[in-house]
Symmetry: C2
Subunit: 465 residues, 2 copies
Amino acid sequence: MKDKQQNILIIGAGLCGSLLALRLGQRGYNVTVMEMRPDMRKVDISAGRSINLAFSDRGIKAMNMVGILDKVMPLCIPMNGRMLHDLEGNTILSPYSGREEEYINSISRGGLNSLLLDEAEMHDNVTIHFNKKCLSVDFEKTTATFKDYNSQSEFVEDADVIFATDGAGSAMRKSYYLSKKFLFSFSQNWLSHGYKELSILPNENGDFKTFKNALHIWGRESFMLIALPNLDGSFTVTLFLSYDEGEYNFNNLTTKENVLEFFGKYFKDALELMPNLAEDFFENPTSPLGTVKCSPWHYKGNTLLMGDAAHAIVPFYGQGMNASFEDVTVLDQVLEEGHKDWETIFKIYESRRKKDTDAIADLAIDNFHEMKGHVNHPNFREKRKLEMALEKEFPEYASKYSLVTFNEDMGYQEAMLRGRAQDKAILNMLAEGTLNMEDDLKTNFEKVKVETDHILEEDRIAKNA
Amino acid sequence: MKDKQQNILIIGAGLCGSLLALRLGQRGYNVTVMEMRPDMRKVDISAGRSINLAFSDRGIKAMNMVGILDKVMPLCIPMNGRMLHDLEGNTILSPYSGREEEYINSISRGGLNSLLLDEAEMHDNVTIHFNKKCLSVDFEKTTATFKDYNSQSEFVEDADVIFATDGAGSAMRKSYYLSKKFLFSFSQNWLSHGYKELSILPNENGDFKTFKNALHIWGRESFMLIALPNLDGSFTVTLFLSYDEGEYNFNNLTTKENVLEFFGKYFKDALELMPNLAEDFFENPTSPLGTVKCSPWHYKGNTLLMGDAAHAIVPFYGQGMNASFEDVTVLDQVLEEGHKDWETIFKIYESRRKKDTDAIADLAIDNFHEMKGHVNHPNFREKRKLEMALEKEFPEYASKYSLVTFNEDMGYQEAMLRGRAQDKAILNMLAEGTLNMEDDLKTNFEKVKVETDHILEEDRIAKNA
């Protein structure tokens, strides 16, 4: 891969595509990026996409790779834990970790994406074009067809290698699927729940109306509301609700009265902060929540899917953006190893990466159930209490959440397997009474370790029989 | 559903479609069936589809439902166990159950399908048309468009209800997917292995060249060969092999010399029975092995996917046909309950059935690994030995294989969960030394029961935390 004069085409200048463009630009490749949307630095295009996102250690690692973490941090609002709101409006803060330095951040999608575009464009060898929608990719010829939204004309772009970072609805993935030229495994799975974005506006002084440094959760078992802070003093609020099941659902919440009744009954304290609720509710779209998995991601050494185009996940672990950034980190490590051709690079990349993006997809669905229900259950809370204490006391202990979120050098799959075994160990020992919260912490730490290893070993034996 | 004058359209007259036509015909509906292929009773169309299949208790239950088991049994060859062939050609018979009356059957696809077509056509209210290929289904209007292969013309068929039993490549499923009119979850997953059908012909007297009443397996860890007997004294042999991995694979087995070398090295005793190997190998197609899952299967009360169209699975549990037949049994039970409209019927059917077809899809993939490798491992064989003894002694004991295959009144999901827990219990106790094969059987039976329940309980606690 010494030949840096190669022409690389990137489809999509979202978070993953613009980071990839920046990194390949830093590596000296000739990079052309085609983005469907207008330039977000000139036009407001936030509507319909989540306004803020959770940014954590895997994302931080990627920003360090390209050397711009110092420019990213000012865009962040630390969220140290989950602020759980009950039906009466009582709140309790449940920290994400027992260690103070481990927290996640609320960050503006637009702010971060604009920064990445700016940084990429600083490289003379990187060019970004907007309003160019990809229609299809000929992965055998390594060409892509675009439509120019300004001129309404179509044109074909030729490249040595094409990366598709064009999101969950990827045009290149569709070309893979429809071509039937190779065995393409593919899945799209929708949750029965959709989501709708709402907002808590700042108060008259421009200040936050409720506690700033938390991810607020109103978990109601079969549905939930969450809120993340923005730099301007507002919160972006998201309602996750079934389309058609339960007493209240997106299909039957059709009048202002219904909506106010629903919020008054289940989210009383949130409703008090949202005089603008009904307006938001009927102006903003209801969107579905889907998981996309596929394989292979690459076609020979010609093309590669990355980010949401390869693995779209539901938002409940706050890892969508972090996982897409980590894609670039992992690809960069493979590039650093100096393999001789793109096909080898893509094969190694996919074999290292696929298991981890599959794992975070599954973890994200698990966390939906955790957030809307389990966080309120006594046995879950007891587990969290113990884990907070363990994390505080023992640097080598990390809960499943911490393994996934704050251990950027452990892959998602390993984090999932270890984290699930640990959860199972603690919950079962608590249920059996073999773990006593009154015992000293060191004793309990050892018990959890031994039982976790035992569970992993039993799974290993059953699997390899 | 008192109105039996409703017009029902069934797309596809394969095993599932013809059984469904027969059953709905028996129930008095006006049934029209459209089949893409020519009438198999008049034209030989076996090429490219598996010639024989495993027929077991869930299939038997369905044949009893329509009252034709006595006509099916003469088509069957009992297979009492797996005949395992090692590299040197030594064989060992591993029974499917410790109970003599529990075995599976090799049955001819064509023979059984023809019987079902005959039986369905005996009803005046059932009409079957051949050479009519479904192009698409308008599930909102409840119409389907067909192409007549004889006249080459297209026509539209209107119905009150449409059932699509048109197999893994279902045209109606494609219409669901492409329409984007509702959230359709869908997955297609390919194994890295493909398959090719070969044959062991009868000897000059028309007799079987090797033991008749077994499913023969040459498991070689990363690939395998199997053989099932046919009524004419031949065996249908299937090679399961990677497309592109390993020393020998479908992509590099391109010469007669290569093929003979490969078989000589790994399937010596089989090769001796197959003088026709090279001819078969290069004449017969190599086909992929895929799993299809989707949901919802129905669109309101208009349309329903059944059989492989709803849930195509890999062949390794011998349950593909049995599961499709069971679809009809389950639907029939729901019909029997007398619900007021098709939408209610379809909703209840899917809610009862989907979890089970998901389970058998996963079990079938597990069994690929069991057949090609585990059957040869010492700990697996020790487990099977214990289970044979338990099944022989205790009528209430059933191995995972027996739960899936011989317990037609237990759903696949329950069979999977209980069967996996049981396997894990036995394997772990054997590994830990807490289960001693020398102990008396009653003691070991109790140990397995207690440990299995313990595992299920621990999983339950972890899941509901």
